[in-house]
């Protein structure tokens, strides 16, 4: 198999993970429990994910904030230490380079987390547009990342971490925390639609942390979860995935992420194009399957003979109990209550547009 091993590779094999290549890394798509049980564990109890494939970039120096404000559509001018803030990163033409999370460690000292498959592209883009006094370092290989997600995540973490090391608010972090005696960044973030934590730590500590958490969470029903459940969870929670709902061709506004684009900001890459483009011709909507079948990505969406758009992701949602999809549809199609059909391998499957998110905790 092509791809890099994460620091947890041996643990996945021991846990019976079915290994696949994803974003340049070898990761488990599921364990023997299967995607549905893994998905349900996160919705009803808690699950553990290896997300070490994510990229980490340090942005530091007197002009760090100014560089982020230039590179990213969100505004980083006013932000407290220990907070995390999501942002798309755009090309000059308003298309999307990637979406990412910025943590503020302290003034002009930021920890940026990007998608695995985009890491090299992102780093090249960021350093290519660097100005003034700032350093940018790709430290991805130094870090392992583990996500503990679900309504019982905090209960599990409380057994291993001091009260003051557990971030209280969603999208905040403690940078010098400890889980057991393992130093790590403890962040209250995730990609599942549930409460939960993400731990960034030295790669060599990752196996010990993985096993420590699994052991501590036994009574709460904590199980390891693979990429399959990560995808169904994020889809059920209607979170965008780069390469699907966001791409060089899909602007943040079209993806429904307009509130992360601060056009009131003095300038940022892509601002002029985004303003000039106005309302996008197609926008992201949710589809709930009302007919028989499962809609996947890249399927045509029709109303009668009219092609109104394409799906970007789709699956059966284990928790909701029905199949859903996200699609980019012509802006005149109502985002709620429109009856459409997706062309699934030559067969038409009925669906209706529904408000996003499909699932909200």
């Amino acid at each position: 198999m092509e791809g890099k091993k994460t620091p947890l590779y041996e643990e996945h094999v021991k846990c019976g993970g079915k290994m696949v290549e994803f974003g340049g890394y070898i990761l488990p798509v599921q364990y023997q429990t299967g995607v549905i049980k893994e998905h349900m564990a996160v919705r009803t109890a808690c699950g553990l994910f290896d997300v070490s494939h994510m990229g980490e970039i340090l942005v530091q120096g007197p002009d760090a904030t100014a560089n982020l404000n230039h590179l990213l559509t969100n505004d980083y001018t006013v932000m407290k230490d220990g907070k995390a803030r999501y942002s798309p990163m755009c090309y000059e033409d308003g298309g999307t380079v990637d979406d990412l999370i910025v943590y503020k460690v302290r003034d002009n000292d930021y920890f940026v987390v990007v998608n695995a498959a985009n890491k090299d592209k992102d780093f090249a883009w960021m350093t290519g547009h660097r100005f003034g006094n700032v350093s940018m370092n790709d430290v991805s290989d130094r870090y392992g990342q583990i996500a503990l997600q679900g309504p019982k995540a905090e209960e599990v973490l409380k057994k291993l971490a001091k009260e003051e090391d557990i971030p209280k608010g969603y999208y905040s972090a403690v940078f010098e925390g400890k889980v057991g005696d393992i130093p790590c960044i403890i962040s209250r973030t995730g990609y599942t639609g549930e409460d939960g934590f993400e731990f960034y730590l030295n790669a060599e500590d990752a196996p010990a942390m993985w096993n420590l958490l699994l052991e501590a969470g036994k009574d709460e029903g904590l199980i390891p979860c693979g990429l399959g459940a990560r995808d169904t969870l994020r889809l059920e929670a209607s979170m965008p995935l780069y390469g699907h709902e966001l791409s060089a061709e899909i602007s943040p506004a079209a993806a429904g992420l307009g509130h992360f684009v601060k056009t009131a900001k003095q300038e940022f890459i892509g601002k002029d194009a985004i303003i000039a483009a106005g309302e996008p011709a197609r926008r992201r909507v949710g589809l709930k399957v009302t007919g028989k079948g499962i809609i996947r990505e890249h399927q045509e969406v029709m109303i009668g003979d009219r092609l109104v758009g394409m799906t970007t992701s789709g699956t059966h949602c284990p928790y909701l109990g029905y199949p859903v999809a996200m699609a980019m549809l012509d802006a005149d199609i109502p985002a709620e209550g429109a009856q459409v059909e997706a062309v699934v391998r030559g067969r038409r499957v009925a669906a209706e547009t529904v408000k996003l998110p499909f699932y909200h905790r």
Partner: protein
């Protein structure tokens, strides 16, 4: 993994249980369901549809992907297991009870394997 002796098997991981020379039940094997993962939907043919040996007559969807189910025989669909539409998890839980269709008027049969042959075939990793 379980491979009942009274069934015959295909290289594409379907099982077939002959009632007599002209009628048989068809489903997917324990190995197939294990490889596919949690199954959530079966797209089944209709009664009276024609079956062609070696060609797809149904498809199954897991949370991850869709896969064709090929017919081991040529004939006609005489019965469809509608239960699979409501309880697709039956294909995972009891793959040899979860028949897809009953085939009748069988005119042609693919090369089939016995349980021992099929088990050896899987062990070879194919």
């Amino acid at each position: 993994m379980n491979f009942p002796k009274e069934l015959k098997y295909t290289k594409t991981h379907e099982w077939i249980r002959f009632e007599d020379d002209n009628t048989a039940y068809i489903g997917i094997t324990d190995y197939a369901q294990d490889q596919l993962g949690d199954l959530v939907f079966a797209n089944l043919p209709e009664e009276g549809d024609e079956l062609t040996a070696g060609e797809a007559f149904a498809d199954v969807e897991s949370v991850k992907a869709v896969s064709d189910v090929l017919s081991p025989v040529s004939g006609t669909v005489s019965e469809v297991n509608e239960e699979l539409a409501d309880e697709p998890q039956k294909m995972n839980e009891a793959p040899y009870d979860a028949w897809f269709v009953k085939a009748a008027e069988i005119t042609e049969t693919e090369d089939l394997m016995t349980a021992e042959e099929y088990e050896a075939f899987i062990a070879e990793g194919r």
